[in-house]
Amino acid sequence: MNFWEYNKTIALKVSTLLLCVLLMTTSSCKKDLSIYEINEVHVSNSNIDKNGLKKDIEFVSQAYSDLFEKPISGGALEEAIIAFNAIGDRDLVRDMMIRDLLNKSTLSLPDRTTINADVDLFVNKTYKKFYKRLPAPFELFSLRNMIIQNQDMQAKEIYYAFMTANEYNYF
């Protein structure tokens, strides 16, 4: 091995080592933060197989993506985690977070005219949006009646009811 080849080998080894160190240091600086992105979701006709309780981080990620149809940002998720950790009553935090999301100016909600134009479509969409399933016929029937009978009821209230009902806590 001549001088240049020797130097080349040394340089290669040193740069590999530096690259490893760089990778190790940069990766170790980052917090492990799971971001739950939007995936294709199988729409079921039943809620019978839902038995996995959502963790707080999953709950807020899912709530955000259900409402805004895009994944929550890393920063927003980090703030949400702090809020969950800072207040012991996590059920209260979940409720407050939903009401906060429902009040965001960037959230687009169907108005009453849109809902009234096709109530069945709205109910079907709402079940799919939050529960990833279609309503059973009696659910469609009952929700349709509730919405028609309560003409003052806005999408914000309906979404809040869906997101604070038991089923929304489960996968």
């Binding site: 809620n47 019978i48 197989d49 839902k50 038995n51 309780l53 807020v60 927003a76 703030e79 949400a80 702090i82 809020a83 950790n85 800072a86 207040i87 012991g88 009553d89 996590r90 059920d91 209260l92 935090v93 409720d95 407050m96 977070m97 009401r99 906060d100 429902l102 009040n103 965001k104 059973a136 659910e139 009952s142 929700l143 509730m146 309560n150 003052d152 009821m153 914000k156 209230e157 309906i158 809040y160 009811a161 869906f162 604070t164 009902a165 038991n166 089923e167 806590n169 489960y170």
Partner: protein, 432 residues
């Protein structure tokens, strides 16, 4: 009904009233059996590792004039490292309002911060086998209180106000099958939530009016009827629905005040206000709002002693000022004034030998772990009719594991706690 049968029936009814156990509205069968000394206890963990040398022995002068009598001047060489603070808010030092145990002990176990917190809050000796990521194995004072207390086991009566998240939240409740999350304290770390920006996920909450909520409830009720996989009763079930409403309003108000700058420098201390002082300030907000029967609050800024001794002395002064302020708030809160016992104790002390880290005033830091780290003090202050005033216990008396039994004794449920849970004894020497 003739007179004889009337008397017999009345007598039987009266006997049954006394003989049958009470079924409380909370669903518990038995009420607390002991008499209460007072109706409120505030336990201030003056944590971060406080040596008796600098506190009660005043080696640097009286750094804690709100707690201890004395006008000993502070050492000249560290004066430049001390921030300006207002005069103590009370006319007298707190030791005059109660009993000071000058030779209190941490007891067995390693004197680490979390171990010290755990021992103080569970009344059990813990060692290095504790988990930092899971609820403590031994029941906490909050669980004892909420399970065995007569007047109310509402979560709004039991608070754990911590100046940081992390392992401290695991001291709200234990994994003990006889107790657990349903008897948890309301954990609150205000300094984490109320830092600008961190409250963003909660600061725009829409509030629904009564009609809207009625419609929501009707729809939610229907949705819940049709979900058979399980009933989500709340992960922890700390608060009832009505208590949660109050919590909601309280948190919302704190966030609003934070946004409006009301929480900034509430004691007119300017830049001297540190995290410990803020944590006590928010504990005072809870006291004013809920008048809790049991509140535990901690401070930890003194722990900077590892690498900055002078700053640690500075933080001791601030912690002292904050405790004085806390006492003053209690005495000015109707419902808690003259009906509250305040217990103040460090979680552990610090080493007798310095380490090798020197600060800008030429002082060496102190770690914790040696035998001296187990020497601490405990101050119990309260109404003159309930707490022995101006008493100083000079001999070695009491240890950290006695604090939980003392709280249980004061609030009247000590005898209801199964005896195997607590090995300490109430510090009745401090009580009238």
């Amino acid at each position: 009904m003739n007179r004889r049968s009337f008397l017999r029936n009345t007598g039987m009814a009266a006997a049954a009233t006394f003989a049958l156990p009470y079924i409380l509205p909370t669903g518990r069968l038995f009420a607390a059996t002991g008499n209460r000394v007072v109706n409120h206890v505030v336990f201030c963990l003056l944590a971060g590792g406080v040596r008796n040398l600098e506190s009660i022995q005043k080696s640097e002068g009286n750094l804690m004039p709100s707690l201890f009598n004395g006008t000993e001047p502070i050492s000249n060489d560290i004066l430049g490292g001390l921030d300006a603070l207002p005069n103590p808010v009370n006319n007298q030092a707190l030791q005059n309002y109660g009993t000071l145990f000058k030779e209190f002990r941490y007891g067995a176990g390693f004197p680490g911060h979390f171990q010290g917190h755990t021992t103080a809050i569970t009344g059990s000796v813990v060692n290095n086998d504790i988990s930092f990521n899971q609820p403590t194995q031994k029941p906490t004072v909050f669980e004892f209180y909420r399970k065995h207390n007569l007047s109310s086991n509402s979560g709004l009566n039991a608070w754990w106000v911590s100046n940081g998240i992390g392992e401290n939240q695991n001291l709200s409740y234990s994994s003990d099958p006889s107790y657990g999350a349903k008897y948890s304290a309301n954990f609150f770390s205000p300094l984490d939530l109320l830092v600008d920006g961190n409250y963003t996920p909660l600061d725009l909450c829409v509030s629904f009016n009564q009609n809207e909520m009625s419609r929501v409830d009707q729809m939610r009720s229907f949705l819940n009827q049709n979900f058979n996989a399980g009933v989500h009763q709340g992960q922890l079930n700390i608060n009832t629905a009505s208590d949660r409403e109050q919590m909601d309003a309280f948190i919302t108000k704190l966030i609003k005040d934070q946004k409006n700058g009301i929480n900034r420098d509430p004691w007119n201390c300017g830049s001297s206000m540190n995290n410990d002082m803020y944590n006590i300030y928010f504990a005072e907000r809870i006291i004013k709002q809920f008048k809790p029967e049991l509140l535990v609050v901690n401070m930890t800024d003194i722990d900077i002693c590892h690498n900055n001794y002078t700053k640690s002395c500075n933080n001791m002064r601030k912690a002292d000022y904050a405790v004085g302020h806390l006492w003053n708030t209690i005495q000015n809160t109707p419902g808690m004034a003259n009906d509250t016992i305040l217990i103040v104790a460090p979680e552990h002390g610090r080493d007798i030998q310095s380490n090798s880290i020197i600060d800008s005033f030429g002082r060496y830091g102190n770690d914790h772990g040696d035998a001296n780290s187990k020497n601490i003090f405990c101050l119990i202050a309260g109404p003159p009719s309930k707490v022995v005033q101006n008493q100083v216990v000079q001999s070695v008396t009491g240890q950290s594991i006695d604090i939980v039994p003392t709280i249980a004794h004061i609030l009247g449920f000590k005898n209801d706690i199964p005896s195997h849970y607590l090995s300490g004894t109430p510090l009745t020497q401090a009580l009238v």
